[in-house]
């Protein structure tokens, strides 16, 4: 193993580095300036100089929602293909045929879902 070739001094350098970082964090907590009485303007969310109006958590963008629904279905299906791809050599042609049929069958609803999702006037 290459790591065993690292001399023992390396351990102390690494230990020194980690403890230096820890020391900096502690020093930082002591040194960091604190504002005891922030003004109301300072506490407001930053909107490039405009005065923030209304709640910060605004309405949801609904127009791309069908992509989220498709993602929930097809991401899981991509996982199932990993089990097939891993054993492809041992499965051979006979074992792969059901998976290929599975892919083709799933592509048909995917095409229809994309047709609906890409036309945003539907949403």
């Amino acid at each position: 193993m290459v790591a065993q070739g690292i001399p023992e001094i390396g351990a102390y350098i690494g230990f020194l580095f980690v403890s230096t970082v820890a020391l900096i964090i502690v020093l930082k907590l002591l040194i960091t300036p604190r504002d005891p009485r922030p003004t109301p303007e300072k506490k407001k969310p930053f909107e490039s100089g405009q005065i923030a109006v209304g709640p910060g958590r605004t309405r949801f963008i609904i127009q791309y929602y069908p992509y989220l629904l498709m993602f929930v279905v097809y991401d899981v299906i991509a996982m199932f293909l990993f089990a097939w791809g891993l054993n492809l050599r041992s499965l051979g042609e006979a074992g792969s045929l059901p998976v290929l049929v599975f892919i083709v069958v799933l592509l048909i609803p995917l095409g229809y879902a994309l047709h609906l999702a890409n036309h945003r006037e539907n949403w």
Binding site: K43, F71, N118
Partner: protein
């Protein structure tokens, strides 16, 4: 005399501890992340006919990011009103952990790998899947409009690239017949996978740039549209913690691309394997940085449409090509 301390010293000097703390672990991740920040600013500056960081050290401002780190560390930590302080601070710091966990899965040389697990490649992609959720959490917790829009963009963007990313990695798994990253490297001793998997490598590169939220696809933090998006409210060192995972992910993804497509640490035995691994990774990193300074930002609907139609179709075509390469022409 060292009796009670002997177990501690044994632990500190054990190879696994050295790998976790020194290389490829935390120390090297922090230093490489900072150097990549400098390199990115320098490469972008050269492309745009500027000079870039210059004064922070004699060697062309190479210490610029360390100077930024010191400056940002001593700024006030301020949490805006009505924000969820716990999640506001937790999201970027957890992002750092995720970036470091990715590097731990990469084999940098024979044996120089923190976690040599059987499911290395899916584990890498599964860990990186958490990061858009953290971006959404960060954007939601800030209670501000632009961060919230940025977080939602990260969520929608994930649906566009995630499936092509996994399916392009499936091509490599079909070629190698294993999920273990060290064994994938060993399977490339007869030839790098980028030649049979050229299409898959292209899809993997594009989708990983989208995963890293780098410039052609940096919608969640588009600074000219939504003023840094989900990072807008972060002060001082939390801003650094929000920026840092980007560079660590760049390092980890370039190392993964090298591992699964460019033969990893394999190379002529004139030089050690670690040299080949790091030099190939650096080439991939600079390629991704040049993409950043070359292409304009896409819109969210363009990215969703391209991911779900073009990239997904190409990924399925790539699986078909790989099937023909591995199994051969169908006889039925």
């Amino acid at each position: 005399m060292l009796g009670p301390l002997q177990p501690l010293i044994d632990m500190v000097t054990s190879p696994l501890f050295l790998m976790i703390v020194l290389f490829p672990g935390l120390t090297s991740i922090a230093i490489i992340g900072a150097l990549l920040g400098w390199l990115e600013r320098k490469v972008t500056a050269r492309v745009q006919l500027r000079i870039g960081p210059l004064y922070a050290s004699p060697a062309g401002g190479i210490l610029q990011m360390f100077a930024d780190l010191i400056k940002l560390s001593f700024k006030e930590l301020f949490v805006p009103e009505n924000s969820d302080a716990f999640f506001f601070i937790m999201a970027p710091t957890t992002g750092l952990v995720i970036g470091a966990a990715l590097v731990g899965l990469i084999p940098f040389a024979p044996g120089l790998q923190i976690a040599n697990i059987e499911v290395g490649l899916p584990a890498f992609l599964a860990i990186i899947t958490l990061s858009p959720s953290l971006v959404l959490l960060a954007g939601w917790s800030a209670n501000s409009k632009f961060p919230f829009i940025g977080g939602l963009r990260a969520l929608f963007q994930q649906t566009a690239y995630e499936i092509p990313l996994w399916l392009s990695a499936l091509g490599v798994i079909m070629m190698a017949g294993t999920l273990n990253l060290a064994q994938i490297v060993a399977a490339q001793s007869t030839g790098w996978f980028i030649i049979p998997q050229a299409l898959g490598a292209f899809i993997f590169l594009v989708t990983s740039v989208a995963e890293m939220e780098r410039l052609p696809f940096d919608l969640p933090e588009a600074e000219s549209e939504i003023m840094m998006g989900w990072q807008a409210e972060y002060p001082g060192v939390l801003f650094l913690a929000a920026q840092g995972p980007g560079f660590v992910k760049l390092y980890a993804f370039s190392a993964l691309f090298t591992t699964i497509y460019l033969g990893g640490f394999l190379g002529p035995s004139l030089l050690p394997p670690l040299f080949w691994m790091l030099s190939k990774t650096l080439v991939v990193i600079i390629l991704i940085m040049l993409l950043r300074s070359t292409f304009p930002r896409v819109r969210l609907d363009q990215l969703l449409r391209a991911g779900w139609t073009t990239l997904l179709t190409l990924a399925i075509v790539n699986i078909g090509i790989t099937y023909l390469l591995v199994v051969g022409l169908p006889t039925f």
